[in-house]
Every structure is written in structure tokens, then in C-alpha cells.
């Protein structure tokens, strides 16, 4: 990436940026022009255009602290209260608060489409402005259905379309978890914004997922592809179905606890969530 140039002369600005843009595109790819997504048949969309609680035909909630802080020693208590989750002015707002609530020091929300919208394959995309600060851990991800508890993680599979740690506001990462490659051994790649941050504006996070591949993209940059060759265990992503999760965690093993610099409340704004299928 060569976006670190500074532009001194206005007249050069256009041509320089065009060159830079070309370079960005070509640098993601060795010698091919890149297309970030091809699936165009819209099958589900929430544009969050109705103020109030999120659409209950699409979204349900995880409530509480799960087991051991959702398996990660996370510090927040998830609720479905308006203070933690609401739709206002065309965006879904998930708010992480610092407050004593049911023996937890923080509250937040985790929305999921389990039992409401689930499918295998597709292009899953959301436009999000992220929160920031040490200990803040938002995510937009997919989890395989557990067939009424007969299957357990990581066998069910997990696709993290976007994860982000608030102390690294210019970086997100996309990850898959499956049998033999979960948690610390998961297959992951990060994407770093040059001269910009994910908490100061909206960005598009997506995957395009088909048989034997998952492509990860941010905005107009396709930054990773994961195939069965890339995972050291069984490829569990040709089955399913999978459901969508949107959440903001606080603390836990990955981000560590908030510190004195962490500002609360923190909000994740979601402009839309869309799912497309391959059109042909």
C-alpha cells in the first residue's frame, strides 16, 4: 500500500490518487483485477429503517453472561433493553455501558438470527461504524446451527466476518473456526486501514461464501480467501445452516479488560445487514 503519500500540489491530487487506487487494487492480487463480490440475489435485508426495537422476525437475543462469559471470560451482561439495543435514525445501535447489572460491571447486547434466518452459503454483508477503546470487542459473525444441541462448537463451525479490538482501531480480522482449528488455532487474517480508522466512519464488512471457499472483504478490498486447503481439520462449511450474530463484548481473553482510557458508553452502529445468494 502506498497511501502514505502526502499531496502537496492540488493539481497532482487526482492523478496521484488514481495511481494509488490502482496500486491498492493490484496489490491485493498478483496480476488479476479483483472483484470483491458476485452474489447479487438479495434474500434477506434489514436496513434498520424503523425506530424502536429491532425487527423481531429477524432478530433474537442472547441474554446474560453465558457460560464463563460466553466461553471467553467476557465481562458484560447481555440484555435486550433499549439502553443496550435500539434502532434510531436508520441505524441499529448496540451500546456497551459501564454499570452494575446482575453481578456484572458492564452491559451490552448480542443479536442473532438463530431460528429466524439461517442458511448455508451466500454473501453476508453489513455496513458498520465500530466503537473504540481497550477492552471493546465487537463482532459480526456466523455460527453453525447446533441441531438442537446434538452438535457442539467447534464442530458446528464459526465464520467471523468481522472482529475488532478497540485498542487497534485501524484493524479488523476475519476468521474461521472448526474442528482442529478453533480458538487460538483458528484460521484468521487481518485487514488494516491505511490512514483511517474503523471507529470514525462506516465501513462494509462481508464474506462471499460458496462450496469450498469463503472470501473476506472490507469495502472494495477482497483481502482473504479461505478454502479446505487452508484448514488443518475437517471443512465444516459445506453444511449448516448458519445464523448471523451481531454483538459488542467487553473484556475477555482476547481483548483484555477495559482500562482507564476506555470511554463508556461505546456504540456500534449498523446501517444495514444484507444477505445475497448466487443469482444463477
Amino acid at each position: 500500500m502506498t497511501k502514505k503519500h502526502t499531496y502537496k500540489i492540488k493539481e497532482l491530487f487526482i492523478s496521484v490518487l488514481l495511481i494509488v487506487s490502482f496500486f491498492v487494487i493490484s496489490s491485493c492480487e498478483t496480476n488479476e483485477t479483483q472483484t470483491v463480490a458476485t452474489f447479487t440475489e438479495l434474500v434477506m435485508a434489514d436496513e434498520f429503517d424503523t425506530d424502536g426495537a429491532p425487527n423481531s422476525t429477524i432478530w433474537g437475543y442472547d441474554i446474560g453472561t453465558g457460560q464463563n462469559g460466553w466461553g471467553n471470560n467476557e465481562l458484560q451482561y447481555y440484555t435486550d433493553r433499549t439502553e443496550n439495543v435500539t434502532v434510531q435514525n436508520g441505524v441499529l445501535i448496540i451500546t456497551a455501558k459501564q454499570e452494575q447489572f446482575e453481578q456484572s460491571s458492564y452491559t451490552s447486547a448480542r443479536l442473532l438470527t438463530k431460528g429466524k434466518f439461517e442458511q448455508t452459503y451466500g454473501r453476508f454483508e453489513a455496513r458498520i461504524r465500530l466503537p473504540y477503546g481497550q477492552g471493546i470487542w465487537p463482532a459480526f459473525w456466523l455460527l453453525g446451527d447446533d441441531s438442537n444441541g446434538t452438535e457442539v462448537w467447534p464442530q458446528i463451525g464459526e465464520i467471523d466476518i468481522m472482529e475488532y479490538l478497540g485498542n487497534e482501531p485501524s484493524k479488523i480480522f476475519g476468521t474461521v473456526h472448526g474442528p482442529g482449528y478453533s480458538a487460538g488455532e483458528s484460521i484468521s487474517k487481518s485487514y488494516i486501514l491505511d490512514n483511517d480508522r474503523f471507529d470514525t466512519g462506516f465501513h462494509i464488512f462481508g464474506i462471499e461464501w460458496g462450496p469450498d471457499y469463503i472470501n473476506f472483504y472490507v469495502d472494495d478490498v477482497l483481502y482473504n480467501q479461505i478454502t479446505p486447503e487452508d484448514v488443518p481439520g475437517e471443512w465444516v462449511f459445506n453444511q449448516g445452516p448458519f445464523y448471523i450474530i451481531l454483538n459488542v463484548a467487553v473484556g475477555g481473553e482476547l481483548p483484555g479488560a477495559p482500562n482507564a482510557e476506555t470511554v463508556f458508553p461505546q456504540t456500534m452502529l449498523v446501517d444495514y445487514v444484507r444477505v445475497y445468494n448466487r443469482s444463477n
Partner: protein, 491 residues
Amino acid sequence: MKNTKFTYTKMTCLLGFIFTILVSCERELSDEAVFATFPNTAEIFTDSPVGLGTDFYFPYIGSKATAWTVDNEVSYEGTASMRFDVPNANDPDGNYAGAIFRVDGEGSGRDLSGFDALTFWAKASQAVTIGEVGFGEDFGENKYVTTRTNIDLTTNWVKYTIPIPDPSKLIQERGLLRYSAGGIGPVGSEVGYTFWIDEVKFEKLGTVAQPQPVILSGQDVEQQSFNGSQIDLAASGLTQTFNTNGRNVTVNTAPAYFTFTSSEPSVASVDENGLVTVNSQGTASITAVLAGVEAKGSLKVTSNGSLQPAPTPTLPESNVISIFSDAYTNIPVDFYNGNFQGQGTTGGVASLGNDNILLYNNFDQDFGFVTTQFVNPTVNLTSQNRIHFDLYIQESIDSGDQLTVELVNAGSDGVIEPFVDNGGGLSIPSSELTSGTWMSFDLSLDNFTNPTGGNNFSGGIANRTHMGSITFVSGLTLSSIIVDNIYFYTE
């Protein structure tokens, strides 16, 4: 990548998109160009000073004027760096290094509004914390001084960022760089070292975000006051904090970056420098905004009207040695506020109509004391046995508040020397303090027995042949005091 293919339409779309953005960028630049007629050169030093002219280095008074050189042996990038040799404390040419780098030429300047930070690479001859690096000081108005303090340097090159509190203000800035660094070690015997900085420039990092401006240390301060009183918000510190790459960086900022507002200007007005003036009885709230973001911290000031004068002393002049009083002829006093290094207390002699008082603000800052010195000549108090002073405290008295009075005997040399001269202190507990009324204290000098000046002076003041100073100490509790009629007398 298996699932990517050539799609020219996408490519065209993307180019079209880019072009759209550029067109809008272009419009913004053009709009700004109406105001910005100064060069927007980013670099200050690469391998030599960039675009500063010939006369650009101005050392601070008392600093070693030759501390800065161009080092052609050491560089982070290119062939040279800026080298700063911080002198030892006993260096006859100056006991610290500090200066401004100012664009040469009256009426010159740079347009820095397109940047968001000053950045540089730095290292030092040993791990060291340098006091101040910043910009915005031009030895003119010094309007937009911005300083990052206590920067930890290592022996390896590290990049440092000093965010611009509000770039839109800096359309003609001459003060591109300022620094101040002292030696390492105990006060008075500091040892020098060398540090280098390189690739000094303004940048648009894009990662400087989430501003958190602060006044009054982020506290919502409530203060009792009186008409005519002034409160300087800048004196208690104005800061801007940005999150840069996930970590907070705080800079001290000049008041000109802020817009101050009073809820009731007729009660208390505030000027563009953050100076609050109390005008009439009532209550007003003072708040501030920096670049559209409301600052944390506020001042709620309540005026009870005019301050009544302290009780007029009645003792005959012949019985009194007066340090500060309108009722007597005062002995020669060197100063009523020593402004010693590291001391935060501001203020001194103030006038209320015909009545002079000593008004001290920021009395709880840093070491929380203020000293009045009278060693030219010292005064013999052998035949005096009491001290009188009148005290007025505007703020409410909390249980932990106290006021300590300290007296030091300077000795026959007339120089006040820590660990050499004798002194003694006496503390007045909160139970003897009252808010909003004049309190008169008459204290026996025999009771000044506590060690003083952070244990720098002890032994009491049984020997009072060469008395040289009186110090009021807040214990970091009281934020302001008013004192009048300080005199020694014989009971």
C-alpha cells in the same frame, strides 16, 4: 484466488466512484484556498531545516543557546538529524535546553489546517524523559501553543505524535516546533545527555480521532466568589486528548483553541483567553467547546456581591512590623508570590477599590504553596512574639482542608537555604476555617514548631534574628485564598 475474475464493469464503477470522491475533494480544497494563502509545507527538518528561512532558532531565556546542532553522523532517515545536547546544571551557558523554531519573516507562516499531527522520530543517549515538545509558540501572540509533556525517549528510534487540537485554527502558524528539556537527577545537580530527532513534519495521519477536550482537570468545580474577582481557567490547565492508534495522547493547549461560554454573562463573563470576571451577584456556569466537542469540566461560580474589606488593624504602628497591610508602612518585600519552579499557585497583590489584598488562585496545584520573601534586608523579630493575618476563603470548607503557615529564619547571610536554615510551621485545621467571611488569626511565634517546606527547614524559630519568609501551604486542598494585614507584633 479461485473465485475472482475479470469484470471490467466493476472496474469502471470503481474508477467512477473514485472520481466522484475526487471531485468533492477538489471542491473542499478550493473553498479552503480562499482563506489559506500560506504554504502548506509539511516538513520542518529532514536532513536540514526545511523552509524556515535563515533566522529561525530562538532559545528560551536561561537555556543553553547552542544546545541544538545538525548532526551529520546520526540520522533515522537520510543523512542528518537534529541533535540536542542538554547541558549539566552547572553549565555556565545555561542549565537546560529549550527553544522555538519559527518561520523567518514577519507576516509569514504555514497553513497547517490540512494536517492532524506533528510527528518525528527520536532517540536519546540514554533512556530519558524530556519535558516538553510542541508547536504554536512564535514569541508573538503565542496563540496556539500546543505541548506534549514528559515524552519518554529510548536509545532506539521511536516515532512520536503530537496531535493538533484543532487543525482548522492553524491557517498561518509561524511557531512550528518548540522544546524544553532539562538534565537528569536531583534539582540543582542535573546531569546532561543528548537526544536526536529526525523527520520532523506535520502529517495527516487519519488515525488521530475521538477528541476529549478538558478544562479544570475534567472536574465540575463550584466556587464562591465576589464581584471583581477573576478566575483564570487557562492557569488550571486546558488539554486536548486524542486516541491515536488505540492509545490516548494528551497535549496541553492554549485557550485560543477553545470557545468559552457563560450561562449568565451579567454575573460572570469569560473572555477568549478563558479569564472569568465576576460582575454581579448571582450564579453562572462556564463551559467550553473545542472544535465542536464540549469539554469535560465546568465552573459554577456564585458571587455573593462585593467582598467586604478585612477588619482594619488597631494596633499602633510602633508596635508592628508589617509585611502587607494598607494600615501600616510595610517593610521591603522581595515578592508576595515566589513562583518557584514547580509551584502552581498564581496571583499576588490585587486591588479591591481602595483596599489591597493578596489573592492567590490555583493554591491546590502542584505543591500547593505560596511564599512571600523579605530578605533585603532580613528582619529581626527577637522582640516580637506574635503574627497576625486576616484570611478569607471563598470555597466551602471540607473536613480535610487545612492551612499551614511557615516562617523561615534566613540566617546572617540573608539567603534562604534548604537544610541549612531554621524554620517552623503551624497548621490551622478545617475546624478553625470558615467560608465566606474574614477570619483574623493572632498566633504565638513560639508555636511554629513543625518542620516546613517539605522538611527542608526545621528546628523552629526560637532564633528570629534574620527572619526572611512566610509561606502559606494549602496541603493541596484549598484552591484559592485571600490574605490581608500580615504583620508581626509584640503582645
